[in-house]
């Protein structure tokens, strides 16, 4: 385990109570509405906020244990934090910002700079090395901030909305970068795709507490709160695009409205899927026969989880379940309009 955390902490009159573990090299995504205490939790891990009770062990090092009087300052923890405000040092050039962590870790000026340049090129900003932070756009500053934290090459990398202000294209690149980093990562995000693609484990926080834990798929299949459902109610498939045809990993080929080439992510809302008992003849470009994996009634609708060949969810009304005779193990036809699909580079 790289992270064993039991956190009882407070800022002002807001307090959080959260416990979770994360294996070495894993990625934990923290999601939750604004004001849920996500940043507070991450700041507690970083040592910016003292614990009232509990215990934090990072990479085998007990960094917080108020009962034993242990409270390690941020610089002596095996972490690096990228804050959502970036907080680049305005008096240092971009490359010196990124080299800051390596220098603090004891690297000499030259190797530190080399490492900084490597990370800058990994976030695609090698040519901005000599600029000042004030000369960067919001997205560039965010990538520099991320590179600065990553260049510390810490055991535990804490990322507070590190992709929030990136455009779609850069976002994909940075997401790949984050996926490749060896560190144990803890990531605050609002993005369902990011969550699904990056996270091995998902923590849902609301009002200072962790309300649900699990793999993204587990949580998406059974969201415990409306907010979680709202965030995760999205079907995500991976495949390979050739023009407007996407060959899914499950064997099916989907037609999309956006021509692309290479590996892609396809997303669509559960509301976009229509179900019928016989093969439909509609304008929808994509139809397939599927097996019902599970039926899960919710307050005013029913969530139908489809199994092979395309694992995805569909919403139907309670009446439709009866009319179609849907139950676990039964078969039905699914239809999906090409225009309902969002395709992006994987």
């Amino acid at each position: 385990m790289s992270i064993q955390a039991e956190v009882h902490a407070a800022t002002g009159d807001f307090s959080i109570h959260a416990a979770f573990d994360a294996p070495t090299g894993s990625c934990t995504a923290i999601v939750g509405p604004n004001g849920a205490g996500k940043t507070t939790l991450v700041h507690a891990l970083a040592g910016l906020i003292p614990l009232r009770q509990g215990r934090i062990v990072l990479a085998g090092q007990v960094v917080d244990d108020p009962a034993q009087g242990i409270q390690t300052p941020p610089d002596r923890r095996p972490i690096a934090l990228h804050s959502q405000h970036n907080l680049l040092f305005p008096h240092l050039s971009v490359v010196d910002n990124v080299a800051f962590g390596p220098r603090c870790a004891g690297l000499a000026a030259r190797p530190a700079r080399q490492r900084a340049e490597e990370w800058l090129s990994r976030v695609g900003l090698a040519d901005l090395a000599e600029l000042r932070p004030a000369q960067l756009s919001g997205g560039q500053a965010q990538r520099v901030g991320l590179a600065r934290a990553a260049a510390c090459e810490p055991n535990v990398l804490l990322l507070d909305e590190s992709l929030a202000s990136l455009d779609a294209e850069t976002r994909t690149d940075v997401r790949h970068l984050l996926a490749d980093i060896e560190a144990t990562r803890v990531l605050i995000t609002h993005d369902p795709v990011e969550t699904r693609v990056l996270a091995d484990q998902l923590l849902v926080m609301e009002k200072g507490e962790i309300v649900q834990t699990g793999t993204p798929e587990e949580v998406a299949a059974d969201p415990r709160t409306p907010w979680t459902a709202g965030l995760l109610d999205i079907n995500l498939l991976t495949g390979t695009a050739a023009g407007t045809e996407v060959a899914l990993e499950g064997g099916l080929t989907l037609t999309t409205a956006t021509p692309m080439t290479g590996p892609v992510l396809v997303t669509f809302s559960p509301a976009a899927v229509t179900l019928s008992t016989v093969e439909p003849h509609t304008s929808a470009r994509n139809t397939w026969e599927a097996e019902v994996a599970r039926i899960q009634p919710e307050s005013d609708r029913v969530r139908v989880l489809l199994g092979a060949p395309v694992p995805c969810q569909a919403w139907v009304t309670p009446q439709a379940v009866g009319e179609l005779g849907l139950r676990a193990g039964s078969r039905c036809w699914a239809a999906l309009k090409a225009t309902e699909l969002t395709v992006r580079e994987a």
């Binding site: 604004n34 610089d75 690096a80 934090l81 959502q84 907080l87 305005p90 800051f100 962590g101 600065r148």
Partner: protein
Amino acid sequence: MTGRATPKEPNRRPPIAVLVAAIIAVAVLALPLVGLLQRTPWSTLGTRLGETATLEALRVSVVVSLLAAAVSMVLGLPLAWVLARLTFRGRALVRAVVLLPMVLPPVVGGIALFFALGRKGLVGRALQNWFGIDTLIGTTAGAVIAAAFVSMPFFVITAEAGLRQLDTRLESAASTLGAGRWTVLRRITLPLLAPSLAAGATLSWARALGEFGATITFAGNHPGRTRTLPLAIAQANEAGQPEAAIAMSVLLIGVSLLILIGLRHRWIAPRTTQQKNSSEASPS
């Protein structure tokens, strides 16, 4: 980042009354200087300024004011940090006491220094016993203490204001990247504070350069040791040698103006970089 939509171009023509008042204010401040320059014996100025006594006073002035500014920085920065960062009972009182020398008549300051550091002062006996310092009268050390007494508040308030403006999140960010306290201080806090420190140091240096009352009262008037330009000017004036006094005044004004002009840029130009950086990328 807010948009750049200024509602309406403001009226460019300033109100007449404001202009008139501003012109009067400049006149009040500048007219005495003009008067002084107009009475300056320019033809003999070079000779007068070249006199040994004048050069000596200039040297003492520079040495004393630089040392005083250095003392102000070394002692004033920790004080400014305490005032800006720590919350404790009586902080307002401490700040008031620290700033008091700015409003105190310098002569009173000089007498007060006697009561503190003089032979019969609060710690004067200790100075004598521990350091063998019998008197500070007629010593450069005494002149430096007097000048630091009146000039340190200028450094402290400037540095404190700078520290308060400083975004402490930058210091936290540095610590989460592995920087210890001293590294944060050396590589983040001090560099970011540099403009304020430079402004404070320059202000306190300028104040020390013009210091008269506390110096002559506490450290006396000794050529080559405590006789700074202001003391030499007063002495020449008292001795009925206005030309010599004017010549040295012109010298002092020249040096002070150079300092203040050098100061202006740092004083007025804010750190735009930091503001931009910290206000962007707020989460949606």
